[in-house]
Symmetry: C2
Subunit: 311 residues, 2 copies
């Protein structure tokens, strides 16, 4: 029996529906809807798509949105001044600086920028104080992707307490916060990475496996305990025909989509895992929509915590 596919779009709709009344209450109290501003530096094509989706969803949810565009030759100083102005703008509840920044800004530009965002407006949850609150189990902004995975598990009634959870990947944005959130929900959590020995056998310990690596089809069926819950965080664009044929050998429909378009999105989890897992998030349509839904939830929360500037 193939795995049950966990429908991220449906869960994301539920999350957004639950925000409707909260958005109305913010409108009533502040005299304006929750406000999200995205700062986009340069013109990376993938970032353009992500930003467009975020703005569209926020607008459809009844929030006020704005996009601040800066050229790819912007200096870190200008970017920090932009963030500071948004920190001081009472109509902006949430600030998101789209990652990655252009390489020309230097290695530590992102960290400087994330450090500069007011903790009260840090809806991406990337500032050190947000990371600290998460580690200390305190209320704060949690990075959207791992927060979305937890919402998915909750809303699909997937038990976590007492389960073995394995997270592949230890990034600050996904892997580590994911591990901390699963720990908070009383899973026994293992974090794996590129230096893990015999990764497939460690992953086979998992009742819940979260893959956040960034390599198409990396997690093959031999990583999976039969019946496990498999959460695929990766979104990788495959353009190589040989790779696509290998990955999609068992899925002729998707292979024909690849052959038509010349590219296809593949998660970190190999498509054949569907035969071994108990439940699986598809790519696309799994974790992706949840990331955006949690950005909305974080922005609404920031607005709820914002001081009423009219009073």
């Amino acid at each position: 029996m193939p795995a049950q596919l966990l429908d991220g779009k449906a869960v994301a709709s539920e999350i957004r529906a639950d925000l409707t009344d909260r958005i109305k209450a913010v409108r009533k109290r502040l005299g304006r809807p929750p406000g999200l501003t995205i700062v986009l530096v340069g013109g990376d094509p993938a970032s353009e798509v992500y930003v467009r989706n975020k703005l569209k969803t926020a607008e459809e949810s009844g929030m006020s949105v704005s996009l601040t565009r800066l050229g790819s030759d912007t200096s870190v100083t200008t970017l920090l001044e932009t963030v500071e102005a948004l920190n001081n703008n009472a109509d902006v509840d949430g600030i998101l600086v789209q990652s990655p920044l252009p390489e020309g800004l230097g290695d530590d530009a992102e960290q400087q920028v994330f450090d500069a965002i007011s903790p009260a407006k840090d809806v991406d949850g990337f500032s050190p104080i947000s990371a600290g609150y998460l580690a200390q189990n305190r209320a704060g902004f949690v990075p959207c992707t791992p927060a979305g995975v937890i919402e998915m598990l909750d809303r699909c009634d997937i038990p976590v307490e007492g389960k073995r959870a394995v997270v592949i990947g230890r990034s600050e944005i996904v892997g580590k916060p994911m591990a901390l959130l699963l720990l908070k929900k009383n899973a026994t959590v293992t974090i794996c990475h590129s230096r893990t020995k015999d990764l497939p056998s460690v992953c086979r310990e998992a009742d819940i496996l979260v893959a956040a690596i960034g390599r198409a089809g990396f997690v093959t069926p031999d990583f999976i305990k039969p019946g496990a819950v498999v959460i695929d965080v990766g979104i990788n664009r495959v353009t190589d025909s040989k790779q696509a044929k290998q990955l999609l050998a068992s899925q002729p429909k998707r292979l024909s989509v690849f052959e038509k378009n010349g590219s296809i999105l593949i998660g970190d989890v190999h498509p054949e895992v569907v035969a071994t897992a108990g439940q699986l998030t598809p790519v696309p349509g799994g974790v992706g929509p949840l990331t955006i839904a949690m950005l909305m939830a974080n922005t609404v929360r920031a607005a709820e915590l914002a001081t009423d500037t009219k009073s």
Copy 2:
């Protein structure tokens, strides 16, 4: 063959010896030695002992130390004012408010106080910004006990990269930072806790097992993969004769110490584990001295980063 005992006192001496030149350099630059102030609220007998040991070690290391005593009826406001004054005192490099605070101060008093300590003087590493820096692999103050365990592993040439490490306990002060530090050193890390199912079998996966639970002798030989490195963070005073006899059945010498004194210190690791482990930290004399040594190291580091008030 019984486990090799890892000598925490010897490693702590090494750490302190390595600080000598750095302390001299601080003296030369600032015209004064590194300064540590401990705030002790109330008169908890165990805290009195801990504080005395910390102050004594700091003094012997050539630092300037001071103790601020507040009565157990002190208000949180007074305590926060005390911390604020120390934040603003240029002669104080490190501030440590001894935990636990008297219960009368309320549940969130400790967190309020740790939040109030300037991140630049947070030598205990308990503030959210310190926790965030640790989660983000950035330079900051790391809680002394887990930092000491890492020093022990390093200085005893115990390889960590690629090993399975299991941490029992998920406190903000030991368990979680321990897991993050082992992860940073490229171990594959599992965090266990009271809701973990079949704890002994999860622990038997460990090449390196860290016990931070607070229950005397909880980790019995069936938790141990033969030859594993076992780090015992617990320091529990046993006063019950029946319990002491059970724990020390194989160690008649220590049992006679108990019978003479009416109490004995036992770690979280059962004394009989010495027959199964490859390497083991004793209690006392294992992790304890390292905790204090790392407090010294953190204070010297705070002084090194302090602005020269004379220039």
